[in-house]
């Protein structure tokens, strides 16, 4: 797995169970995943030679982020490296213009969108989609970065002017959503697919904060969302995990973003599903039969733990364990910085209100937002 973050770290837990040799390419020996594998390869995912050196150790290479240049991946593939997902698929997770074009061509529902290059283009788009407009860079955005809600032409101009030359942009309709949903799908090279229960995600400042599995929605909405996610996986010929973030609107479900890897909205599956998304990703990229995506309990709630003002979380950690013996705590081995995702907590059970309260308390306490 290229990348040494928490996704690779949690994939190692799954690799241990499956008895699969698991290597990571990390930027340094203290990265989240590098702490927990036998010998991380230290290198740069932007350097072809580092990628080549890493790939020589592996039967298959896959990714814990979307930042590897696809040109390098094509080169590696030409040299005989097995790359999953393939660069053609991955491009849809790297470039929102590619993604929107492909999904629109396939008839997959999404918000109104248009490529834009000037404030005039944004104004023209707003004439049909209305203000405010969601202005996005085609590349490089995640956790709310690269996304701005603009109110008028002058605002759009300021955003466009502040970006690096050559930045490509798209404008999207601001969707009046009822709630945000996400669907995890696994797809293997020979085409087996498995879809997880639809989850509800809550974002604050563009960062996923809380996930409810399954989402409290009608069965027909859930089926429609799963159907769309499977359609996306097949259309893009994804291999591995695909996370499809969606908006639920009064008229139906629209695709918002894609990630081709285990994703924050699927962390609930470690404690709440028969097969975690991390194990499923390994099964899929290795072309092993996929595991059951069934939930273990009526509800699972996951809440992210963000770094707070206190670098030492030990007392909070003790408190949370003592306060709620059923709280599943996942820490990523990362130094605490305010707002940085440093872990997550999960609770599993029958009573959604109770689970929400427990997960929120655990996350808020670990972050330091509350002290009692």
């Amino acid at each position: 797995m290229v990348g040494g973050g928490q996704l690779a770290r949690m994939t190692q837990q799954a690799a241990i169970a499956l008895g699969i040799g698991f290597e990571v390419l990390a930027a340094g020996p203290l990265e989240s995943a590098a702490q927990v594998v036998r010998q991380a390869v230290i290198g740069d995912h932007d350097d072809l030679d580092d990628l080549r050196r890493f790939a020589q150790r592996c039967d298959v290479i896959t990714f814990d982020h979307e930042h590897v240049p696809t040109a390098f991946l094509r080169t590696l593939r030409d040299e005989g490296v097995v790359v999953r997902p393939a660069p053609e698929a991955l491009e849809n997770a790297q470039d929102k213009l590619v993604m929107r074009s492909t999904l629109t061509a396939a008839g997959i529902p999404g918000p109104l969108w248009s490529q834009v290059a000037s404030a005039d283009d944004v104004v023209a788009f707003a004439a049909s989609a209305g203000w405010p407009v969601v202005l996005k860079t085609a590349r490089g955005g995640y956790d709310g970065k690269g996304v701005t809600l603009v109110d008028d032409a002058a605002h759009a101009q300021r955003v466009l002017d502040a970006a690096a030359p050559g930045t490509r942009w798209l404008a999207e309709q601001k969707v009046p959503f009822v709630r945000e949903l996400a669907v995890q799908v696994a797809r293997s090279p020979h085409g087996q697919a498995a879809v997880y229960p639809v989850v509800q995600t809550t974002q604050i400042d563009g960062i996923c904060r809380e996930v409810i599995a399954p989402a409290p929605i009608d069965d027909d909405v859930a089926l429609a969302a799963q159907d769309i996610a499977l359609h996306v996986a097949q259309t893009l010929e994804v291999t591995g995990m695909l996370a499809v973030e969606m908006f639920q609107t009064a008229e139906g479900v629209l695709v918002n973003e894609l990630a081709m890897r285990p994703h924050n909205s699927g962390h609930w599956s470690i404690d709440g599903a028969v097969t975690s998304q991390f194990e499923q990703h390994l099964r899929a990229v290795l072309d092993l039969p996929l595991g059951s995506t069934a939930a273990l309990a009526p509800y699972t709630v996951m809440a992210n733990v963000l770094g707070g003002d206190h670098p030492d979380m030990y007392k909070a950690y003790l408190h949370c364990m003592a306060h709620d013996p059923g709280l599943r705590i996942h820490m990523y081995g990362k130094d605490v910085r305010p707002g940085r995702k440093v872990g997550h907590v999960t609770v599993v059970g029958d009573d959604l209100e109770d689970l929400l309260e427990r997960a929120r308390h655990g996350a808020a306490y670990l972050t330091g937002d509350i002290t009692e």
Copy 2:
């Protein structure tokens, strides 16, 4: 954790989630656990200098087996190393004469037993306990080794004669049990204890093959078994996990064997309980608050995967995944040798008969006992 076997390997999975730095002392770099930690310390658990070198890296040392000489552990403790469980507790898991004496003195129910040194002693014991007699070496026995069922004086003489000089022996009544049970208990240094549901274990040739959680027994028997296990943990001042193997008889429950570490009879907890025995062991030895021991489903069945005649298990592994997407597969990264524990499988659900069939099929297929 001293020891590089599968127990340390599975403890690493729990350490990753808790964000705990986890080190192992392994005999070699390819041992089961050494494959999955950042930098295993290679050394001998029978060598004080190796233990000392390892302990310098750790805040607490604990064990994945019972073979470390307690004299060395006392020395390390005198030098300031925190050893959990303490050598005085661990001695009861190393030496069956110490264990039987301590438990009998505490009034904890067990089979009739007596220290023996000659065939005459065995005959005298059989006069009250009846033939056959279970003849055990005080030390060194596990997975059925060091245990012989002897039918008469001549048989006892042959067994005693075959052993190394200085071997210490005990004779135990052959208990007419209804079934074998096991209870996992965690106990932390400040005295918090948590007990898991009682499980039924099935041994074949002295090796644990199958575990049903919870055991299909009456509540009063389960409560009695849990009460005994808690009493043992408190009496021996165990820190960490304690596995108490028991016989259920028509008259009640008797203690058979002890292990002071995560134990094969507790592997079900990885997939079937809120907190696995591996996480619980870490919490206990680090004096963290203990986690919930609640089961996630009405039943969990675990079956061991023993090595069979085929060193390459890959096709069987594929088959099992395709045949049963709900089968949880745990492989230990060990070379296959006939009869060696190389993994286990677990299934979780409502229907015990169905779970038994699935777990047995998975284990038998991986072993190579069946091919369809």
